[in-house]
């Protein structure tokens, strides 16, 4: 399958065959003019993609951003001495202070420190983004693999099901699902987003599987005695997974934005838990008096989403050189 042939540097093709003379039957030695195998590591799709990625400024920039965000999400206390979950740190008398040395990002309507809240808000965004991505990749990927491989009735049923999900407007659908749960928290938001987003992964996986399963190596694997499970997971999946990884990375940013939107609308993460979307919602009424409680979470949100989309772009370029 030519489009997943690794990009990267040209591989020194070691020609041994066309020596111009046949190998004498029964001679154990290799043909005489054979050079030793080439040096360096073998070039798999993944090592080639990695080689390619390391040299992309876009990838370096976005992954550094994401790395910082991950550290912030895991260890917010390293970045802020103020614990925003401690109500005593909020002082109504200090409400809507502009950024200053005591409060870098100023204070919000309740006199809470915007900087520490923004820092602590990263965790929920990252958790929702990553868990939704993982769940959709597994569910959509697995069903797509089955539908693409089995085809026939299985495929028809699964494909029509995804079309039903595609027909639901995403925000409306998420509002409905969250209304059913009655409580909004990280996990219900994740579930609502995953329910609506898996069909996209499904479609991409299914298409990639259908392309991969008609390759000669799948038939060769069958001819050499591989069973259906082995063919699906060992021969088709590794050749079909690249587009899913690309879309998953790009979607991750989208899920973070969607979480913020749902929290903004009041059905996502609920106070006293912290979410950038929630902070934006709280700050919007008094925006003209105090811009900082709205500006900083919004800035963090945009940068985070942008970082994941840039990463997805870089990964796509590395994994699918044809699109360049």
């Amino acid at each position: 399958m030519s489009d997943i042939r690794p990009a990267g540097p040209p591989h020194p093709e070691t020609e041994h065959d066309a020596t111009g003379q046949a190998v004498a039957v029964g001679t154990p030695e290799p043909p005489p003019d054979v050079k030793p195998a080439k040096q360096g590591k073998p070039a798999s799709l993944w090592s080639d993609a990695w080689y390619d990625l390391r040299r992309r400024p876009l990838f370096i920039f976005s992954s550094v951003l994401i790395l910082i965000l991950l550290v912030i999400a895991v260890f917010p206390q390293w970045f802020s001495s103020v614990d925003p979950f401690n109500a005593a740190t909020c002082q109504l008398a200090q409400a809507r202070n502009p950024p200053g040395s005591a409060h870098w990002f100023g204070t919000d309507n309740l006199g809470c420190d915007v900087y520490s809240r923004t820092i602590y808000g990263a965790r929920n965004s990252i958790v929702v983004g990553m868990s939704t991505t993982i769940v959709t990749a597994i569910v959509g990927g697995l069903l797509g693999l089955i539908a693409g491989y089995r085809s026939g009735a299985t495929d028809t049923v699964l494909s029509r099901t995804t079309e039903v999900f595609f027909a639901i407007p995403p925000i409306l659908g998420a509002l409905l699902i969250l209304a059913v749960f009655r409580t909004g928290n990280v996990w219900t938001v994740m579930l609502a987003l995953a329910v609506l987003a898996w069909p996209m992964t499904f479609r991409i996986m299914r298409a990639a599987v259908i392309m991969a399963k008609n390759q000669d190596y799948v038939m060769a694997a069958r001819a050499l005695g591989a069973g259906p499970g082995r063919i699906m997971f060992r021969h088709i999946l590794p050749n079909a997974v690249a587009p899913v990884i690309v879309v998953a990375t790009i979607n991750l940013g989208g899920f973070i934005a969607a979480e913020a939107a749902l929290s903004f609308l009041g059905v996502g993460i609920q106070s006293p838990d912290i979410s950038w979307g929630l902070m934006i919602a709280d700050a919007r009424d008094r925006f003209l008096e105090a811009y900082s409680p709205l500006l900083f979470p919004a800035l963090f949100l945009s940068v985070t989403v942008l970082a994941f989309i840039m990463l997805g772009d870089a990964v796509r370029d590395a994994l699918d050189p044809k699109l360049r």
């Binding site: 065959d17 066309a18 020596t19 799709l45 694997a221 005695g225 590794p238 050749n239």
Partner: protein, 345 residues
């Protein structure tokens, strides 16, 4: 406990004196939007241990479909096998369950393909792919399987096998890839090896090397080899007998030297005359006139009649049976005597 390959089909003999592999009156059809394509229409041939059968025919003659039916790797649907048997040591493979057939594939009957690059999985190293045979079917550890892979790569004469075992298929040249494919197929010492145009995608010099390798491996292990090809030159040195296919039927069956000396079917004769010779330089090359038959709409009677120089009226209406020329030869031509005599029609 999964049943093993030898439980499915006994290792030796079988009932009476069955040949190693016997294809009997095999029919294969494909249901397509344009109609029913009858790709194979009653093919029969036998193969004994240590024997090489060359199946010769042009594109669309059904030679590859027959092989895929033997392997059980046809996609069904759209393919269908309405009639026929494929007996392996006396057991009809077509009646076995899918699990049992999976046990036989690779371990007892193996196959190699025309284009080794596309037949090797691009995301795994060749060592991993050869070793997979041992890990899956023999339950070997990763390390043991890799050792075996290196041994096999040595056996098919891949230079510096130890260094190259962790290379990927695209890092090998065409001939080397075909050697790797061969290494995979002989990994478990199959009794039958089907080679579907193994040299078509290769340079002429490399073709000879691959054919010699196959012949040598066959001598070492006494396996039966079915060599599917459209290249008469490839066949001459290696094959013991030849089955010529045309329009999904066998039109001639014969030991290899007989066919080259005295073809018994007008189609075989045409094929042999189509081989360019040096003394023809400057002259027009011979070609069988007309086009291969449309499998959706086969000619009546003998399917070769529209192109046949020996055609008589009954060729248009009567399907010729496989006439016995002598105990080792058959020809599906009403006028095989005239063809043998060389009198042009």
């Amino acid at each position: 406990m999964k049943n093993t390959a030898t439980e499915v089909v006994p290792a030796e003999g079988g009932l009476g004196n069955d040949p190693l592999l016997a294809v009997d009156n095999l029919h294969v059809e494909f249901a397509t939007r344009a109609g029913l394509v009858k790709a194979v229409n009653g093919v029969s041939y036998t193969l004994n241990a240590g024997e090489t059968l060359a199946v010769l025919g042009e594109s669309g003659s059904g030679k590859s479909v027959t092989a895929q039916a033997i392997m059980g790797i046809l996609d069904m649907p759209p393919a269908r096998i309405p009639l026929g048997e494929v007996r392996f040591r006396g057991t009809d493979l077509l009646k076995l369950k899918e699990e049992a057939r999976t046990q036989i594939r690779g371990q007892r009957i193996a196959m190699i393909f025309q284009d080794a690059l596309s037949a090797l999985n691009p995301v795994f190293t060749v060592g991993w792919q050869i070793g997979e045979m041992f890990r899956v079917h023999r339950g070997m550890s990763r390390r043991d399987a890799e050792t075996k892979a290196v041994e096999l790569m040595d056996r098919v004469r891949i230079p510096a096998a130890k260094q190259r075992v962790n290379d990927y298929p695209h890092q090998f040249s065409g001939g080397m890839r075909q050697r790797i494919m061969i290494a995979m197929s002989i990994a478990l010492d199959p009794e039958v090896l089907i080679a579907d145009e193994p040299t078509t995608a290769l340079d002429v010099t490399v073709q000879a090397q691959i054919m010699e390798l196959l012949a040598e491996l066959q001598r070492e292990s006494n396996m039966g080899l079915i060599l599917i090809t459209h290249d008469l030159g490839v066949v001459a040195d290696v094959a013991d007998k030849i089955a010529v296919m045309y329009g999904g039927r066998i039109v001639e069956n014969a030991p290899v030297h007989d066919i080259y000396r005295t073809p018994g079917h007008p189609y075989t004769k045409g094929l042999l005359e189509s081989i360019p010779r040096v003394d023809q330089k400057g002259q027009e090359l011979y070609a069988i006139k007309g086009l291969p038959p449309n499998l959706l709409d086969m000619p009546s009677g003998c399917s070769f009649h529209p192109r046949c120089p020996y055609r008589q009226d009954n060729c248009v209406t009567d399907v010729p049976e496989l006439y016995e020329i002598n105990p080792t030869r058959n020809s599906a031509c009403h006028y095989w005597r005239e063809v043998l005599d060389g009198t042009d029609g």
